[in-house]
């Protein structure tokens, strides 16, 4: 089962970090010195010393828009055993959610992370729900040990892109 998912990742899935629209990325309740790029960006996320940490309490709300439409296949969330996230809810295409309305919509998928997942075992998602994703909202509801601060070392998203027109490739037809 695990080999299946591992090979599934290798098949045609790419790491979607290249398609993240960084100008619109937001994270609510993050500690300003331990912020989202530590977990999301190439290079930073490989460093286990750099974490995303929550601030006032243990919940985190992360909003990731993409530069084009993608299909999401699986998600890797890496964190420390104790303060790593436990219940993670994913919402597709919901903009600007807040902690107050996060429980009003049913999530596109919910994942309860096991300690294995926290060691980089990918969580396979309900593929049918993530066929047409423009933006992803990740709501981390609680952590493994119930402590006040949730720490996340790495968040990686795997999937494929949908064939969309590359606007930059479009050239104007010359008038004769």
């Amino acid at each position: 089962m695990s080999t299946e998912s591992a090979s599934a990742i290798q098949k045609s899935q790419v790491d979607l970090v290249d398609f993240v629209d960084w100008s619109g990325v937001e994270c609510l309740n993050q500690n300003s010195s331990h912020s989202l790029p530590n977990a999301l960006k190439q290079g930073y996320r490989e460093d286990d010393g750099l974490n995303l940490e929550s601030d006032a309490d243990e919940q985190l709300l992360i909003y990731i828009p993409f530069t084009q439409v993608v299909k999401l296949y699986s998600v890797v969330v890496k964190g420390p055993e104790e303060e790593g996230p436990k219940t993670v809810k994913l919402f597709s295409n919901k903009e600007h959610m807040g902690f107050s309305n996060v429980n009003e919509f049913p999530p596109s998928d919910t994942a309860i992370l096991s300690p294995d997942n926290l060691k980089e075992k990918p969580v396979v998602l309900k593929y049918v729900k993530f066929q047409n994703v423009r933006s992803l909202t990740i709501f981390i509801e609680d952590n493994q040990s119930g402590s006040d601060i949730t720490k996340v070392q790495k968040i990686a998203l795997f999937g494929t892109t949908v064939e969309t027109t590359d606007m930059k490739g479009l050239k104007k037809i010359e008038d004769h």
């Binding site: 609510l28 309740n29 300003s32 601030d55 006032a56 902690f99 107050s100």
Partner: protein, 403 residues
């Protein structure tokens, strides 16, 4: 220049009828609200401000966040005073109003005027603070009016719960002769987190403090923002250049009268420099007054203080006319010009100059009716004048070198 949506929560409870802030607490609040709206829209034209009332019949949003100042000014009219303030509900409604702002890129901020006693306990306030912090909302608190035991404590606790990276502030305004708005102008609530202040705030501060015509360079930032900005930038450049020039001058002419060099460097200046000098003048003048007690000096200082934007040419003609009449006055005027054109930069220069100044002023004081034909006075004048000529040439070279 932060893009921000602000909700102002006004206290219109019965406690606001009190007249300890003139003309009444409510009026003082209204003035402060107007000023804040002006400052916010000035610092970034896309900023929006909304107003809600916390007392009266209940928490009520008077204006949803808008950049239209007219609406905001109008809503304060006919607002009734009465009831009790509900701080918790007020803040929550403000948060909701901000959540539904049109431009989601704006940062969220709530400004609360807490004039009446607070009936919530610390715990409730801290919870509210934490909710605001989670949703990335900044909070500014103006603590004025009723001084109740524990009110300041509760508000400080609320601030501590909300504050991230010093984006939230609290100001305690005690009763006194100063209007509420004047006190607020100098606080970070107006100046926007230490960005250096918008032109509006700086202009308003100048008006409040010195009774000078409201705008920093005699240019209305509303009418001509580019000119105001250009003047401000060139003033800062000139100040930096003057500091560098002054430091060099201090090192070279350490034994001579440093005063001789200062007026000559200022004579090289352009209009913008005279404006910058005028600005630093105002600061220096206040310092010098405490040190020198010479009545002539004070007169001269007052004269030049009244016309901060006047060019140096004017002042020189004043000086020459006066010189014809009274060499004492001429000496004093020259000293005051040296004084005033000193930079706000190096304190060591100042102290040395002061030492010289006090020496010279002590001479003047001890010889009240000094004989113009007195050789020592004549020599002093002559030496100062002769020094002003070669340093002029030196100064022309210096700016070229520095550039």
């Amino acid at each position: 220049m932060v893009l921000e949506a602000t909700m102002i929560c006004i206290d219109n409870s019965e406690w606001m009828r009190n007249g300890d802030y003139s003309p009444s607490r409510f009026q003082a609040q209204a003035d402060a609200v107007n000023l804040i709206c002006g400052a916010k829209t000035q610092s970034n034209p896309e900023n929006t401000v909304g107003v809600l009332a916390m007392a009266g019949k209940g928490v009520r949003v008077l204006v949803t966040p808008t950049s239209d100042l007219g609406k905001i000014l109008a809503c304060m009219h006919g607002l009734e005073i009465g009831g009790e303030m509900n701080l918790a509900a007020g803040i929550q409604v403000a948060q909701l109003a901000l959540k539904h702002r049109q431009n989601k890129k704006q940062q969220q901020r709530i400004i609360v005027f807490a004039g009446s006693p607070i009936k919530h306990d610390k715990k409730t306030l801290e919870m509210i603070g934490r909710k605001l912090k989670k949703s990335n909302v900044a909070l500014d608190i103006v603590d004025f009016g009723e001084e109740e035991d524990g009110k300041a404590e509760k508000l400080e606790a609320l601030l501590a719960a909300v504050n991230t990276n010093d984006t939230s502030h609290i100001v305690h305004v005690p009763t006194g002769p100063n209007a509420l708005s004047d006190v607020l102008i100098s606080t970070p609530i107006f100046t926007g987190d230490g960005e250096g202040g918008s032109g509006f705030a700086a202009a308003a501060a100048a008006a409040a403090a010195g009774g000078v015509s409201g705008f920093e360079f005699g240019v209305d930032p509303n009418l001509d923002p580019e000119l105001a900005l250009a003047l401000r930038v060139s003033m800062e450049e000139e100040r930096a250049r003057q500091e560098a020039a002054a430091k060099k001058a201090a090192e070279e002419g350490s034994k001579q009268e440093k005063g001789g060099e200062q007026p000559s460097s200022s004579q090289d200046a352009t209009m913008t420099e005279s404006a910058s000098v005028a600005a630093s003048e105002a600061d220096n003048k206040r310092n010098d007054l405490t040190d020198e007690e010479n009545a002539l000096l004070r007169q001269a200082l007052a004269m030049s203080m009244d016309e901060p934007a006047s060019s140096h040419e004017l002042r020189d003609t004043d000086m020459s006319e006066a010189a014809a009449d009274d060499p004492d006055l001429a000496l004093a005027l020259q000293l005051s010009v040296q004084d005033s054109t000193k930079d706000s930069g190096s304190q060591t220069d100042m102290s040395k100059l002061l030492a010289d100044q006090s020496f010279v002023s002590s001479i003047l004081a001890s010889l009240p009716g000094v004989d113009p034909n007195d050789p020592s006075v004549k020599d002093l004048l002559a030496s100062m004048q002769s020094q002003s000529e070669p340093p002029e040439k030196k100064d022309e070279d210096k700016p070229k070198e520095e550039k």
